[in-house]
């Protein structure tokens, strides 16, 4: 029965600002600073338990919760979209525990947490982009053991990955990596940029914005500071290239310079395309509407 009283007493408990306790935030903050000081290197951290499932963005979430303050304006996207269920759920949780202002406008946000996309609009110096990362280890494809991949990074021994890319070309005549395209950061570490499309990879290079990456389940934090060299792996005769949307345009806003989602119209059975960045798409649509009127 004591248990019961205890529970009743705690029923109206207030959670700490940003849910996780101050000491845990301190640890994450220390690790973020080290991540920034060693671009592309995965800093191990004691990932905390959150009421969001592992694999659903807990790494990004812990970074966001350690960064965020009452003056911040937050945007959360999943697949480029502000309203998908997972984005909404994360926002709901962060807002419940911090009360910060939420926005859909890329340019208005001070912190953007994202899964699988970098917004189309160019982000600036006073913003931070936080990536949710499922697989922080870029070498996992070629080497299952953590102890071994750590050694490979230590020795800058990336030959296995290069061989993998080479064999892809021999077998398929193309590098078949779609998203999660490996990049070399600051000429030292090869890094997994999270499952962003190749379309977004060039945005990592010499950007104005600080990029932070969090993998909760795998317990790693890493970073790309602003103005840092980020180069996709490529061969002289096999250059890196982004997804092709040649001759295609968004059926909502008409953009021809954005990453497009392929849609099957269930009535006509036809393929159409719309922008994956929904907030940008509606901005363009609204602008066009105004200029029409």
């Amino acid at each position: 029965m004591n248990d019961m009283n205890d529970v009743l007493k705690r029923k109206n408990r207030k959670y700490n600002f940003g849910f996780i306790d101050e000491n845990s935030k301190r640890e994450i903050r220390r690790k973020i600073l080290k991540a920034v000081a060693i671009p592309g290197y995965q800093v191990p951290f004691g990932s905390r338990e959150l009421p969001i499932a592992r694999g659903w963005g807990t790494g990004g979430l812990q970074i966001t919760l350690s960064l965020i303050g009452p003056d911040d304006i937050l945007k959360v996207i999943d697949q480029g979209c502000d309203f998908s269920v997972n984005a909404v759920n994360l926002k709901r949780f962060i807002q419940k525990t911090t009360g910060v202002e939420i926005t859909e406008d890329t340019l208005k946000a001070t912190i953007i947490q994202t899964r699988h996309r970098i917004p189309e609009e160019k982000m600036g110096e006073n913003q931070i982009l936080v990536f949710q990362v499922p697989y922080p280890e870029v070498l996992r494809t070629v080497e299952p053991s953590e102890a071994v991949t750590r050694e490979m990074h230590a020795e800058m021994n990336y030959s296995k990955l290069w061989v993998y890319l080479y064999e892809e070309i021999v077998k398929w005549g193309e590098i078949t990596i779609g998203a999660r395209y490996p990049v070399k950061v600051n000429g030292r570490y090869i890094m997994d940029p999270s499952p962003i499309p190749r379309w977004d990879v060039p945005k990592l290079h010499m950007a104005e914005t600080l990029y932070l990456f969090g993998a909760g389940r795998e317990k790693r934090i890493y970073a790309i500071p602003p103005y840092t060299r980020v180069e996709p792996l490529e061969f002289d005769d096999f250059k890196f290239n982004v997804e092709s949307f040649d001759g295609k345009a968004c059926s909502l806003c008409g953009s021809t310079d954005t990453f497009l989602d392929e849609i099957f119209n269930s009535e006509t059975g036809q393929k159409t395309y719309i922008c994956s960045d929904t907030s940008y798409c509606s901005k363009v649509s609204a602008r066009k509407k105004v200029s029409h009127e």
């Binding site: 600002f17 600073l33 191990p44 600051n186 030292r188 103005y227």
Partner: protein
């Protein structure tokens, strides 16, 4: 003892400024806006940074010049544990003293370069500088990740030989130490191990 230093929100804002300075070496942020810790305390700004970053999970070591009382205060306010210099997670020192201890600080291993010391160094003043300006202070010309082309900062109260020692300690990237400079006015400047430092003396 702690005045009305509200830990949750102040630490958050101070951290963001340190993060901004660490991400953009040469960029100076000022943490003076936040309520002080103790009235008229000599190392007020320094202590704010320490409370933001240190706790009972990490260790620190301090140069004797900072004074025995400050060492006790840091241990008390942060809960951090005093350790040998070679194993310290944080090292606290004044910039004006020539400090060969820098060469003994933990620089990490190739497997875990992050297991390395962060130096927090008190200097007299940090001023934003531009290339053409001639100042009495020594000017640091910085280059590396976080910096578009070059950035400049003028620091007073920093023994230039310490810069050489830091460069020596950071010679084998990714091994190295990361430095946070803090002046008497609450200005913060960071020198992560990636930054290339050139000293320009007029």
């Amino acid at each position: 003892m702690l005045k009305d230093f509200e830990s949750c929100f102040n630490c958050q804002r101070i951290f963001r400024m340190v993060l901004d300075s660490m991400s953009r070496p040469g960029k100076i942020n000022n943490i003076n806006d936040f309520s002080g810790i103790k009235d008229g305390y000599q190392y007020d700004s320094m202590l704010k940074i320490l409370i933001t970053l240190l706790d009972n999970e990490v260790t620190f070591s301090m140069s004797a010049q900072m004074g025995e009382q400050f060492k006790k205060d840091v241990a008390e306010f942060t809960g951090s544990i005093i350790s040998e210099i070679q194993s310290a997670d944080f090292y606290i020192a004044r910039g004006n003293e020539l400090n060969h201890e820098i060469l003994r600080l933990k620089k990490g291993t190739l497997q875990f370069p992050d297991d390395s010391c962060t130096v927090i160094m008190a200097v007299d003043s940090i001023i934003r500088a531009v290339a053409e300006h001639s100042l009495s202070a020594s000017r640091l010309r910085l280059q590396g990740p976080g910096i578009k082309d070059y950035s400049f900062a003028a620091v007073e109260g920093l023994n230039l030989q310490n810069i050489d020692l830091i460069k020596q300690r950071n010679a084998e990237y990714p091994l190295g130490i990361d430095v946070i400079l803090i002046d008497d006015y609450g200005n913060v400047l960071c020198l992560p191990r990636t930054v290339k430092i050139e000293v320009e003396v007029d």
